[in-house]
Symmetry: C2
Subunit: 653 residues, 2 copies
């Protein structure tokens, strides 16, 4: 997208909602399962009693987080991502912590969303069952290919499945409610089964409390993606902040409604989700065994509610699968954007920054999908296993960002004199403080309940990223210091003479062109050099040189060990030590070919020579290309890629 | 080794024998096993009756092949390898056929020798048993590391284990003979067992004949490596040909003696080798079962002959293992040499040719060991399985070479008038004809008996290599034609002006150096250019430029899509189209750092820009390096590698 046209594509709320909310809304596809499954460890009765408590807890956090981010949206109309908020208000180390957490979370978003999508697809697509891992890997590969090719989904492409998903879930909720009120709602397939505790008895006291906390931690997955809108403020139509805050509220409301619908329906239909279904679920007192197939909660609910309306079942399953894939896709946009911002700030290799270049984004996309595929394979596409690693990062980011917001308001309050504005700021600061305390508490709960179960791997990954990025930053700083010009002493001295050397192995067009260009540059001294590896060939070369009256002297360098690079290096150094104020220019003819494998067959000596010459001070290396016929057209493939525009999400501004 | 000192290290026969013969002699460590095992398929009685016939057949072929190669040695005192003989006398396609066969055979030499070495080691080293594959892979990895590091074994290091092996085998034979004559030779451990046929009954008629032929094919493994001496003639002391021919005769005699000793001892001690020992070997009529451990023939013989002299057992086992490792090592010398010769002739990427450069040899060594490791893993380090792929290549090479030799003599006979010389040539031609017929026959026998069992894989590999190498050759030829200078029309025109551009992103030492060097080169036009990706940064750059009075105009290129490469390319092309007779010189400041990972963090934009500029005609790209502090010392690591000298063996001269 052209910089000067970026402003033309501002989003109305009805498009902004699906674009920014797919990640957050999609989590209702797996959060209820994880709540029910975790509580089910202590048996069916326990799950029924406590699932509402846990859901209310999640909703409470959701309300607070949404309220808090509405403050972010107003404070940073430029789109203050968590990374930016943390960096500006709490310093670069806090920013880097958030960035590490977000990078890890993007990978988990892909892994969890795709795994959940595959599990949901299995409800209607039988062949997926038992092949979840491979299907998930193939889906990630397809997403990767789409994003590498640069297929940019328009807002509309996003809008249809997201609204369809809302329609499906809320429609199912309403239809179920009607059936429930009229007493026609059947029991779920698993409703007639008994869910026994994993241990032999129900838990009590502290163990029960701990289990409830774990269920709450898993349920907090419903909050992932809430921060997306706060990154995307600049993409909204004016008044940007206001519209973004409204959209955020809509998203929060929708999440709460959908989550509550699913939990309510589960209660009414008696859906049972077990960690180990074959042994924990009893039919008439006997375990159902390995042949039992446990569908996802949404799958079971759709089958029950739409028992007489199979199109409804298919619709809900398909849109659930679609929105989960969209959610994964948001990470494919967000990860490279965040990587680009981190690269701009010197925490990642600078080449990840260049916006206009597809290559930069390609690297980010490949790293993301590679990591997600590894996770899916290692955790066998199990949402329950992956969710143990998730959430930590989200709440590290939430908490840091909210603490940053408190600082933000405190700083601004110091300067602000207008009582009305001060009042608003103080109110915002209170909301952000509640947000910080709340998300900090959730973070602690998540850490305590999930550290052993998997969160430690996510934390380890964050620490590795943190250290790595800090190391890169330090390296760049060191280099910058070393390269800084001290204008007192560093005024460069112009070399007195240019001593040019053309490297020749045989006489052909590239050599003649290199000689012509070297002559056109009119150096102070010019000679051609060749290395005498094979005396026979050297004799022939000299004879041909003389025969054609080439107007440049040809010098033969001895090579007692039949090396090529070394004699040239030694010769260049001898020139340098004879006249240290001169600069030596080495002309290397290079072939340009069309195919990469053709490149492998050529230029290797030149490349090696160049790599070594660059270490010698006072030397310039000139590549004189000769374009072979096969190179025509190949350059178009290199350059004429469509320019890219990063969509806004992630930790960025 | 310095070219002018290569002559000083000529080998006396006593050193040449172990250096060139380790491969050929080592095959007596597995050839007898394969003869006995193959015949044993038809039962113990069949094996006893026919193993002498098969051995005599192998010896007959050995005598003919040795006699034939003595002619090669005299005809090509420069060391005419099979590749050279075939190319010169039968044309490049025949040469390429031999080369493909030899490359495949080098890989198999490593795989077979190491697998056999491991099997022999298992006789005395219990922990090896059951871990043959991993031990073999580790050994190959160690050999690879040694050869990559360039540890050059001296002649003496070779001599000791080879002579020790001869001493061990012949000593064991003599000691066994004495015991046999005095009636004190005990039966082998497997002597008391009955070897039953794999089918229920002994074979007769054609099936029996076919089995004998198969055993003969496997036994022909004893001939691998015979050609080595013919490649090494230049390394002999004068009279080179005469000494080489004598050494060849010694080697043949030793092979025959050792092979006969082992087969004779096997007869006397009743050694039984079964394809499927647990079921084919009966003890008192009952199969020995899976707990039975089948040692190699040499292992069983040593245990029997040196029953009261355990040091003898250890000695024979150790020297057998050592010579097999040495045999594998010859392939590590031969493969890169042959690859280098093929690269010289344009059949492999040219960079494999450069002799003085360790890198060229490293690539060859890595390809060889990678392929050998794959074979060892796929065939589970089983000599019996691997031997089915072996030998084909050897006899393709033998046969082609001998046919080439017939042509050689015929050609020379046309010119030769001296009757005595003509007589000698005619005699040589008869010997080579017999050699060609004999090795051709063996080749047909090997193809018929082994095609299905595995030879087809080896043949497929040869065909793939053949096609690949032909494709590379054609590519090089096409390029050569395209680059050839037509002196009538191609006299290059000197460009009228040099238009120089220095690419600038910020002002630091590398930029200043690039500007200084560009100014020193005194181009017709000189300007600095920067791409306006971020207006803020561009403004700062312009201000700094003005403040420091940099005496080169700075041009800002617009970049509406925030690309870097494209605007520069477009600008360069606009210059070219305005003044097509000028040449454009693009100066790129480059950082030089010490570590490869540091390089990853820099120069990526410059590299990308350069890669694309090279496609544009009329452009030179100048790298102006800035050496950072960390680069000091790193260059030494790049360059100060000891020069390499290829040892002589393989298809080359």
């Amino acid at each position: 997208m052209r910089s000067d046209r970026l402003g033309e594509t501002l989003l109305p709320k009805r498009l902004a909602l699906p674009i920014f909310a797919s990640d957050a809304l999609s989590s209702v596809a797996y959060a209820p399962d994880e709540i029910l499954l975790t509580l089910g460890v202590a048996g069916g009765a326990f799950a029924t009693t406590h699932s509402w408590q846990v859901t209310l807890g999640v909703i409470a956090v959701m309300v607070v987080v949404v309220a808090s981010y509405r403050q972010n949206v107003h404070a940073y109309p430029s789109g203050g991502g968590d990374y930016e908020v943390a960096t500006v208000n709490l310093g670069p180390k806090a920013g880097l912590t958030v960035a590490s957490a977000l990078l890890v979370d993007y990978v988990l978003t892909v892994a969890v969303s795709i795994s959940s999508g595959v599990a949901n697809a299995a409800t209607v697509l039988d062949f997926v069952r038992g092949r979840e891992v491979i299907v998930a890997v193939v889906l990630i590969a397809l997403l990767t290919a789409m994003n590498l090719r640069g297929v940019r989904e328009s807002g509309r492409a996003f809008a249809v499945p997201v609204y369809a998903f809302m329609l499906g879930i809320i429609g199912m909720g309403l239809y179920g409610l009607v059936q429930h009120l009229t007493g026609t709602l059947p029991a779920a397939e698993s409703g007639s089964l008994t869910l026994v505790p994993e241990g032999s008895q129900e838990l009590t006291g502290f163990a029960a409390f701990f289990l409830i906390l774990r269920a709450f931690s898993s349920g907090s997955a419903a909050l992932t993606g809430v921060e997306a809108i706060s990154n995307g403020v600049p993409a909204f139509r004016k008044p940007k902040s206001h519209n973004a805050a409204t959209t955020l509220l809509m998203m929060g409301t929708l999440s709460v409604v959908m989550l509550s619908s699913i939990i309510a329906l589960s209660h009414w239909t008696g859906v049972k989700i077990a960690d180990d279904p074959s042994r924990q679920l009893l039919r008439n007192g006997v375990p159902v065994g390995d042949s039992y197939v446990q569908d996802t909660t949404i799958g079971q609910l759709a089958t029950t509610v739409f028992a007489n309306f199979p199109i409804g079942i298919a619709f809900v399953s398909i849109v659930t699968g679609l929105i989960l894939i969209l959610a994964a896709n948001t990470a494919f946009n967000g990860f490279p954007v965040l990587a680009s911002i981190l690269a701009r700030d010197g925490y990642l290799p600078r080449q990840l920054h260049t916006r206009g270049d597809r290559l930069a984004f390609s690297n980010g996309i490949l790293i993301l999908s590679g990591a997600a595929i590894v996770l899916v394979i290692v955790f066998r596409a199990s949402v329950t296993a992956l969710i143990q690693l998730y959430i930590v990062g989200v709440f590290v980011s939430f908490t840091t960002s909210q603490i940053g917001m408190i600082r933000h308001w405190t700083r601004h309050l110091r300067l602000e004199r207008d009582a009305k504005v001060r009042h608003r700021m103080q109110r915002s600061r209170i909301i952000n403080s509640i947000g910080a305390v709340m998300s900090g508490t959730v973070l602690v709960v998540v850490l305590i309940t999930k550290f052993q179960a998997g969160a430690r791997y996510a934390i380890a990954a964050m620490i590795v990223l943190y250290v790595l990025m800090l190391g890169i930053k330090r390296h760049y700083n060191r280099v910058q210091t070393e390269l800084a010009v001290d204008w007192e002493s560093d005024r460069p001295i112009l070399p007195s003479h240019v001593h040019a050397i053309v490297c020749v192995s045989k006489i052909h067009k590239p050599t003649l062109r290199a000689l012509a260009y070297a002559r056109a540059s009119r150096p102070s001294f010019l000679e051609a050099v060749t290395v005498d590896v094979d005396p026979e060939e050297t004799r022939e070369l000299l004879a041909e040189w003389a025969r054609h009256d080439i107007p440049v002297p040809l010098k033969v360098l001895a090579s007692p060990y039949r090396q090529i690079t070394r004699p040239i290096l030694d010769y260049v150094r001898s020139i340098r030590s004879d006249s240290p104020r001169d600069v030596v220019t080495v002309y290397l003819p290079e072939y340009v070919l069309g195919k990469w494998w053709e490149q492998l067959l050529h230029n290797q000596s030149a490349l090696r020579l160049k790599a070594r010459l660059l270490f010698t001070p006072g030397v310039m290396v000139v590549s004189v290309p000769w374009q072979l016929a096969s190179s025509a057209g190949a350059e178009r493939a290199w350059i004429d890629e469509p320019p890219i525009s990063g969509s806004v999400r992630g930790g960025g501004r």
